[in-house]
Structures are given as structure tokens and as C-alpha cells.
């Protein structure tokens, strides 16, 4: 026989499950309540927004005007954290694509080949609500890039302002 389980094993397994269930319900009753009231998605969005704001506070950020000034100055490297399809369609002029969903040390090494760790970098994603730029900026900081900032307005604000863009042909 592969396994032999006693009735006692099964009973205590049930007790452990019940204990976890009770603890979970007691500690997370608000989460369960949101599920039953149909407000779970709203609550998840609110918590994610709060978490993003906390993470953003730990990184330097720049506004649309500051981003444009840095772009015109020409020394700053712009990184587009959106998916490749969005990047191909339209992106900030001279920006490189580092999709947040695929970010890895290998991809960073390939995309930023020859780029100094002291290079000023600005990361952006789709709009003010997206979190992809945060993830990529945090990853780049972990990889040793010391001058990483997030442009919080996202590509939408840049495009709407009529600032320079590129398309991949």
C-alpha cells in the first residue's frame, strides 16, 4: 500500500482545516464581507492604489513638464514599461521598451547593454493609474541603476500634450 492513513490522521486534518477556516474568517471578515457585498473589485483597486502610492513615495518622480525638459536636454534615457504591442504602436521619442510583465536581469542586460549605472533614467507606463513603471523602476534600482525616476503622468498625458513620439516601423 502506498499510504496508510488512520482515522485519527483524517480527523486531525479536519480539525486543522477548521482552525484555519475560523482564524481566516475572524481576521479577514472585512474581505469576506466585501466579497458578499460585491465590492471586492473596488476594494482591491483602492488597496492597490494605496500600495502604489506608498511604493511611489520611495522613488523620485517627475511631472509632464519636468519629463519634457529632461527629454529636450537629451541626457536622460526614457524607458517604456508597457507591453511590446503598445510600445510598437507609439512611444516617447527615443524610448526603449522594457515591459514590466517580462522584466528580468537578462532582459535589462540586453536592452540596456552598455548603459552606465549612473545614467539618468525615466520610466513611464500607460497612464497615471498604471503600476508597470513602478515595477520596472524598482527592478532597475535593484540592478544598481542609481538615477531612476518615474514619470507619473504616463504616455497618455505625453501624447495628449503633443510632445515628440516615435513609432516602430
Amino acid at each position: 500500500m502506498l499510504f496508510q492513513l488512520s482515522r485519527r490522521d483524517c480527523t486531525w486534518a479536519f480539525v486543522l482545516t477548521l482552525l484555519g477556516l475560523i482564524l481566516g474568517l475572524l481576521v479577514q471578515w472585512q474581505l469576506v464581507l466585501h466579497g458578499f457585498q460585491g465590492t471586492l473589485d473596488l476594494q482591491i483597486a483602492a488597496v492597490e492604489k494605496e500600495e502604489a502610492a506608498r511604493r511611489l513615495a520611495a522613488l523620485p518622480t517627475c511631472s509632464l513638464e519636468q519629463a519634457l525638459a529632461r527629454h529636450e536636454e537629451g541626457r536622460t534615457l526614457f524607458i517604456d514599461a508597457r507591453e511590446p504591442e503598445e510600445y510598437r504602436e507609439l512611444h516617447i521619442q527615443r524610448a526603449l521598451n522594457l515591459p514590466a510583465s517580462q522584466v528580468s536581469a537578462r532582459l535589462v542586460a540586453a536592452v540596456l547593454q552598455g548603459v552606465s549605472l549612473a545614467q539618468p533614467i525615466i520610466v513611464y507606463c500607460g497612464s497615471v493609474d498604471c503600476h508597470a513603471s513602478l515595477r520596472v523602476a524598482e527592478f532597475l534600482k535593484k540592478q544598481g541603476y542609481s538615477q531612476v525616476a518615474v514619470y507619473v503622468g504616463g504616455f497618455r498625458a505625453w501624447d495628449e500634450a503633443g510632445y515628440p513620439v516615435d513609432i516602430v516601423r
Binding site: 492513513l5 486534518a13 484555519g20
Partner: protein, 163 residues
Amino acid sequence: MWEAFAPGMRRGIRLTSSVKRSLLLSFRLFLGAIFLYASIDKIIRPYHFAAAVEAYQLLPPFLVALTAAVLPWIEAVSAAALLVGWKPRSALLVLSALMVVFLAAIAVTMARGLDIDCGCGLLVERPVGWLALAEDGFLLLLLLGLLRALPEQSPATRIPLHS
């Protein structure tokens, strides 16, 4: 022939009881720590875990919330029991059942072609894919191996699971 390369291998190596005990203890502590660690991330960020469960698109919202609320605690309680050696076989049984559920969810999601975070815990985001499947499959094998190797709590009223 085997004797020339690894003496005793052909007949099976007999472990002394103290070595066997130490091995079982190491595996028990390792698995207990792994699952406790994995559950902590889900417990401290319940809404993040709820979003991960929701992304699988397998449950209605109220069941997503219920799963996100209780599953990490069941995992934590069982992992803690395994870690301290209280009813370890029962804890292994619960954790194995959870792993089967995780594996089924990952397999279904892969078959549906969804590209989502697996929500597996361990404080590192990983997408649903072969790596997550292999990782959970390996952990399930370890759990079942330990369940088979650990001495039974009571020889009475045994229920055979497989012949």
C-alpha cells in the same frame, strides 16, 4: 556491477534509525518553514492575494473573497503544526490537499492560456506556467514522501488510500 560503483546500492542502503530520524526532522522543518513563509505573504496582503485568486477566473467574487481569507490561514496553521511537530501527518495531509488544488488551478489556467501571476506566495511574483507547475509538483512529492515516511500516530482504524 553496481557493487563496483556504489557498494550496497543494489540491495538498498539501510539507514540507521538516528540518521533516518534526522532526515525526517530536516524534511519536516524544511516543508513547515516553506509553507509558513508562503502563507505569510498571502496573510499580510490579503487583497493582493484576492486579486491573484480572481485573476484565475475560476470562482465567483464571494468565493474569491472566502478563498483569499481562509486558504492562507489553513496553510499557515498546517505549516505551523508541521514545523512544531504537532499532528504532522494530519498537517501533511492538509498541505498535500492544498497542493493538489493549486496544481489543478495552475493546469486549468495554463490550458486556458491565461498569462497571470500564480499568487503562490514566497514573496516573489511568478507567472502561471511550467515553472510554477514543476515547483508545486515537486513540493507535493516531498509532502507525500514525508507522509509515507513518518510513523503513524495510531495503528488502529487504518484507511488504505491506494493499493
